[in-house]
Amino acid sequence: MSLPAETAASLSLADRARRAIGDTNLQTALAKVTAALGAEGTAARTDPDMVERRRRGAAIRREVLDDLDGWLDRLQAKLESLGITVHRAAGPDEARRIVLEIARAEGVKLAVKSKSMATEEVHLNAALEADGIEVVETDLGEYIIQLAHEMPSHIIAPAVHKTVPQVAQLFTETAGRPLPDDRTALCAFARERLRSKFLAAEMGITGANFVTADTGTIVLVTNEGNGRMCTSLPRVHVAVMPVEKVLPRFADLGVMLPLLTRTATGQRLSTYVSMITGPRRPGETDGPERLHVVFLDHNRRSLLGTPYQEMLCCIRCGACLNVCPVYRRIGGHAYDAVYSGPMGAVLTPLLSGGSEGRDLPDASSLCGACSEVCPVGIPLADLLVRLRADLRTPGPAVPPAPPWPGHQADPGAPVGFPGDAPGRPSDAKPGARAARRLGFGAWARLWASPAGYRLSAAAARRLGRVAPPALIRHTPLVRGWGEGRDIPLPAPRSFRQRLAARREDGW
């Protein structure tokens, strides 16, 4: 059974992981989603067209990051020339304030939302609801988890941890009438219920998959049609755009869109790709009368010029989640963050200035599958290792970005990246750090000489012959490391001994 957000926050990562591993429903769901999407991603990677596309996609992303502020300025000018109002939000507080002000000015009572990780990142829904505005998630998976008051468990399939009977239960409660455990009936209910919301809402809120600087086009990728509904029917459209989503050229979409969709789900293109270039024009019957774009920084710009800049290339495809041996066992909720998997383990501590997700980089076997599969070539495994070091080093590892001109820093946003913030459950055992340092130091000294190496290896072989494996596994220092790992026992004879014996036999 999945954890409500409040419970998850009070448990350590290890405890959440253990719960997830013990949850058979979740394990089945995770196996299914990562196998299905992972297979698609792998197939997509080996396609000759994709090899070239990945190279070009990586180049385009890095071209943007080389001059992000410049591209944002050019984009803003273009958007404004189309009659779009552009706002800049340094952090979550400001983003919430901006959207709330727009909603109040427009007299919004009901807002419909298309799936947007950026809006979850800034906890937008809660702020609007606190002001008496009803907010309805319209992506089917997001609608399900909204009703269940849960966080997404996968970036592409947020409700993958829910079984059909569980969803039937949820929808039955919402509908006030019994609904069967039947996908078609459940989808039909969602379609009917959400349609009435689409038609009544004053405001549509979306993210943006890409926004092109030369034409000012906002691009939304969906399969259900809810994104189109949110941007066609309500009279106001607000798009929250994390700053790294800007692309230089409309033509770049020809490279990036199939790269995103094929890597995420294997689709050549998602069912709907909406390209929005401005609000409703004179003579048109529908479309938003007013269109707002909110540039969201939230510590992203502070990563520029540091090795962590690479993380801003991310196009949110979810491929790294599908191949990660850790994610595949523990699922998104165990990360207790908006972004999970390898990309979440890197992004969460960075965006929060080190105040959240400090233990997430430890949730990795460093197998490197994420780096291999990333369509834009982000060295995720390297970033995880670097974060592990930086999170343990006192002092700011990432200095704060200069505020935008004419802009004040968001007082609520964490500044920079302190290395020694308190509250790390994984290091809670007193003396653990000292013990590790002593142990590794002694081991290093012993193995620095051939004699020391031979002596310790001989002792280990003798011990392996005499002591039962169970005893070895419970030795104090070995015990913690041995939990969840097979401890290989030394062979009775070393390779050198066997080689010497063979040579004697004239081999």
Binding site: A29, K32, V33, A36, K78, T138, D139, L140, G141, I144, A157, P158, V160, K162, T163, V164, V167, R183, T184, L186, C187, A190, R191, L194, R195, L199, D214, T215, T217, N223, E224, G225, N226, R228, M229, T231, S232, F250, A251, L253, G254, Q267, R268, L269, T271, Y272, S274, M275, I276, T277, G278, P279, R280, R281, P282, G283, E284, T285, D286, G287
Partner: protein, 188 residues
């Protein structure tokens, strides 16, 4: 060349749950349109984006009305309310991409966004000459110069019927958008 492209388009669209027809000469295309519209409408109104260039050029609304169908046009005072009960929406497209089975539907005066979105079925008319291999090529043709004056306020690439796999990863069709998509490729 056009024949090979159309064949590929049809194959890919079928794979994602849509149906392609043609390429057909104008008259046959219109006859097929009447048949399909009647079937899909199921007794309800047929919504037509009369302001769409392809729809306008082919005289779709007149042909459908002449065949006795209940045609709903955007200049109808009750367009928005009646659209919710329409059985099928008919639009044109500015381009088609064979590699992904996609049609690009543009909005404009007399061509609302909702026509291809709200009714449970969508029929799209596309000229064979506007079909290209893939999205990249189509974008290049739509916008030879980066001048967004050429881009409509809303351009949507539609690749088959609306779908979701959010319920235990099994595909369900027709979630918010139309569950039935027919594309008629017209010669010319």
């Amino acid at each position: 060349m056009s024949g090979a492209l159309s064949a590929k388009f049809a194959e890919v669209l079928a794979a994602v749950g849509g149906r392609a027809h043609g390429p057909l000469p104008v008259d046959e295309a219109l006859e097929l349109l009447v048949t399909l519209a009647r079937e899909r409408a199921g007794g309800g109104a047929v919504a037509v984006s009369t302001g769409d260039p392809v729809v306008h050029k082919l005289g779709v609304a007149e042909r459908l009305a002449g065949a006795g169908l209940d045609v709903l046009t955007p200049d109808d005072v009750f367009w928005r309310e009646r659209l919710a009960d329409a059985g099928v929406g008919i639009t044109g497209a500015v381009a088609a991409a064979a590699a992904s089975g996609s049609v690009a539907v543009a909005c404009g005066p007399g061509a609302p966004r909702a026509t291809s979105l709200v009714p449970p079925a969508h029929i799209c008319l596309v000229l064979a000459g506007t079909m290209v291999e893939d999205l990249a090529e189509a974008l290049g043709r739509l916008l030879p110069e980066p001048d967004s004056g050429a881009l409509p306020s809303n351009l949507v690439w539609i690749s088959g019927p609306s779908r979701s796999a959010d319920l235990e990863l099994v595909l369900t069709v027709g979630v918010h958008g139309p569950g039935s998509v027919d594309v008629i490729v017209v010669e010319g």
